[in-house]
Amino acid sequence: MSPQKARDLFSAAVEGTLDSGLRASFDRALASDPHLSSEFQAFRGLYDGLHALADAPIEVPFGLADRISARIDHDKWERQRNRPVIGGAWLRSLALGMAATVLILGTVASLRGGGKTFSAGLTLDQPVATPLEIRQTNLGVEVSSGPLTGTIKVRNGETGDVIDEAILRGDSLRRPVRYAGERPIFVVIEQVGQPERLSVVLPGSQRGTLSDGEGTILEAAKAAAIYYRIPVMIAVPDPQAKTHWKFAPGVGSPGDAPGSRFEPASLALSQSNGMLVLRTF
């Protein structure tokens, strides 16, 4: 038996699965080649050592199952959104025209609202409004920007505590903001010294089944975040204003959210960058 053939049998020899004839031939090869024999001894030690890798208990992140469910919901919604429009070019043109109209209306409403809070859709489509962009990722959101100089802070929107901070010197930003808590959290992302800011509620692992309620707009955003299990941008001037809400009937898929009803009726949920946006129209 050649040394190479013997090496091909190392695993079977350690596992004791060689038949007697092959085993005898293998043993003769080792006996006649001390180098091969020491190779086999090292191989045996390694084989045993590999099982030690299994000793470590690995802790599963809290709320992983809910995050996976949210990811599936998001993927379903993306697939629905990307489904081709049936009915020919004129219908597609109409759809695009309507989308453009909504975008323009949204821009005007936001500017009239004081320009201090921006939705994700606006930051993407109106780059002059704010250098910051935000989009949903698997486990939270990602904040990004083009090249800029300044400090970007992520704060707890209710306590003001700084959760994360990035100092940019002409660099671009690409920063994940992930949250693994139980209850939804309200975060504000801002460039220090600039009036613009992004306000977003990140869902926690908690699941919400209540489809209606009343309270502040912030509370409505939190309820939507846990009902649809997706981040919700707040694009209104005063998140403490009162509202009543009734989420659209369905299975809690984000694709249903735009059918939700609010009081005052100027409030609505829309979709942008994989998130929901609570805004006034």
Binding site: L9, D48, L53, I58, P61
Partner: protein, 196 residues
């Protein structure tokens, strides 16, 4: 976790019962995450990998006929997600040779807790596991996956063959080759792996 329970949940999920599918996630998330973590040595990457895998499971479940165990199928999908991830990284040319080495240190620290052994034994085990993980991370991704399935997840050759859709002889020979490569990579630290 019984196969019969899985079969009931799978059948309900195939009929569109989302609660049943969520239950399937809850039952199998731990195993999937542990496997993903051992492949990536990175908690965020592992969580993303598992999420990707369950999205694929969700969309492919209607085609699942139960010819293999659900867990075997899940291993296959997590492995494919992992191989795709590494391929994307290679294509972007963003692979850092330092990443697996630095990235595993956190994982290794989790693995050295064992009150039964004294400090000397612990130090040696820790060093051995560290060296082992470094070397495994240098192997091609499919070899990493096979080694992890066999030595860490304790899947049999037959189960790995099912999961990877390969003949059992191919699995055995590729695993032997992976172990030989590992031995070569670890040759400079051979004294840590002397057979007892």
């Amino acid at each position: 976790m019984s196969a019969a329970e899985d079969a009931v949940l799978i059948a309900a999920s195939q009929r569109g019962d989302r609660n049943a599918f969520d239950e399937l996630i809850r039952k199998h998330q731990q195993r999937a995450y542990q496997y993903a973590y051992r492949l990536t040595s990175n908690p965020d990457e592992a969580a993303d990998l598992v999420a990707d895998a369950f999205v694929r499971v969700y969309h492919a479940l209607t085609n699942f006929r139960g010819q293999s165990a659900f867990t075997t199928w899940l291993y296959r999908i997590v492995t494919n997600c992992y191989l795709d991830l590494r391929k994307r990284e290679r294509n972007r040319q963003h692979v850092s040779l330092d990443a697996p080495i630095g990235g595993e240190s956190e994982g290794v620290e989790r693995q050295i807790e064992d009150d039964a052994d004294g400090p000397g034994v612990l130090a040696e085990r820790s060093e051995r596991e560290r060296a082992m993980q470094r070397a495994v991370a240098l192997l091609p991704p499919y070899q990493q996956a096979m080694l992890t399935m066999f030595h860490v997840e304790n899947l049999s050759y037959e189960e790995i063959a099912q999961a990877l859709d390969l003949p059992i002889g191919t699995v055995k020979s590729r695993l032997n080759r992976a172990r030989l490569s590992l031995r070569e990579l670890l040759e400079p630290e051979a004294e840590l792996f002397e057979a007892t």
